[in-house]
Symmetry: C2
Subunit: 182 residues, 2 copies
């Protein structure tokens, strides 16, 4: 492949909706196709970039602002960036889109899953605490989640398998010439 | 050129020593040679990455920690990164070196210039304020600058022109195969 076009796949959705479950195999698939890939999520950036931030609206926006800067720089240098962050606020996501589109393509993926299903999965054991009022500013429970209005892709993770979601994203990237076919 | 090897040129030195004066033409020269280049300095990252940070040791270290994360990601994706930061603390620079060497090459450039000369230049009008006690934690005046012990390159900016300094860095990069010759 010649010089790779940079893009950012931005996975947004509730905690437990399956963002990371999609992001990891997507990362592997793009790497297997010979692309340069960086995956960013809360666990990856917390140590180095966002250790001072909590979960207020201001802190969440700051978090996304810093990540956006990193994704922008990588994107404009031809890297395939996969970001998975709850990123609940529409306005902040719109700013992210604007910044990244100056650098390359921005592919917003709405990882849609009903709150009840996320809470039932409760991968990190946080919903129980949130419903018990022991965690403040918990998205979907005590803090809003503003669903994307025009995402490039929607994955309904309560109704489809991870493989199907990943395949949907890959197909989109292939069709636009961002990824070679597998 | 085939796949570009990533590296970070890290310019450290007092305020007014000439870090940015070297970084900007270096950026241009590397770009002219067909490399992917990103230049990072305080002005560039303040808005997006470090707006919350001041000049205490803790804040300076945090600043460098965040920049290092970004430089590391760019470096391991084949970008030529040019960082110019006072970065006064040896231990923090050593950590930066360690992190970036896992991603590619780290080229520490000590931009050496006597304090008196920097203060005389006083590009930003800050030394006057610092000597008058109106700025706290000012490197070289009220805060230490720990000079590198084994930098890859030293530029003596009080004794050589910017062109000479830039040429010295370029020669180093050419000799190691990081940059094609101009």
């Amino acid at each position: 492949m010649r010089d790779q076009k940079g893009f950012t796949v931005w996975l947004t959705g509730l905690s437990g909706s399956g963002k990371t479950a999609i992001a990891k195999p997507l990362e592997g698939a793009l790497r297997d196709r010979g692309l340069k890939v960086e995956r960013l999520d809360g666990d990856i950036v917390r140590q180095s970039l966002t250790s001072d931030l909590g979960f207020t609206k201001e802190d969440r926006d700051q978090n996304i602002k810093r990540v956006t800067f990193v994704a922008k720089l990588l994107t404009r240098n031809g890297v395939a960036v996969i970001c998975s962050f709850i990123s609940p606020y529409r306005e902040r996501r719109a700013e992210t889109r604007k910044e990244i589109e100056e650098a390359g393509a921005f592919v917003e993926v709405f990882v849609e899953c009903p709150l009840e299903v996320c809470a039932q999965r409760d991968v990190k054991g946080l919903y129980d605490l949130a419903f018990a009022g022991k965690i403040d500013n918990f998205t979907g429970v005590s803090d809003p989640y503003e669903a994307p209005e025009k995402p490039e892709i929607v994955c309904h993770t309560a109704e489809e398998t991870v493989e199907e979601s990943v395949a949907r994203v890959l197909r989109y990237l292939e069709e636009r010439g961002f990824s070679p076919t597998g």
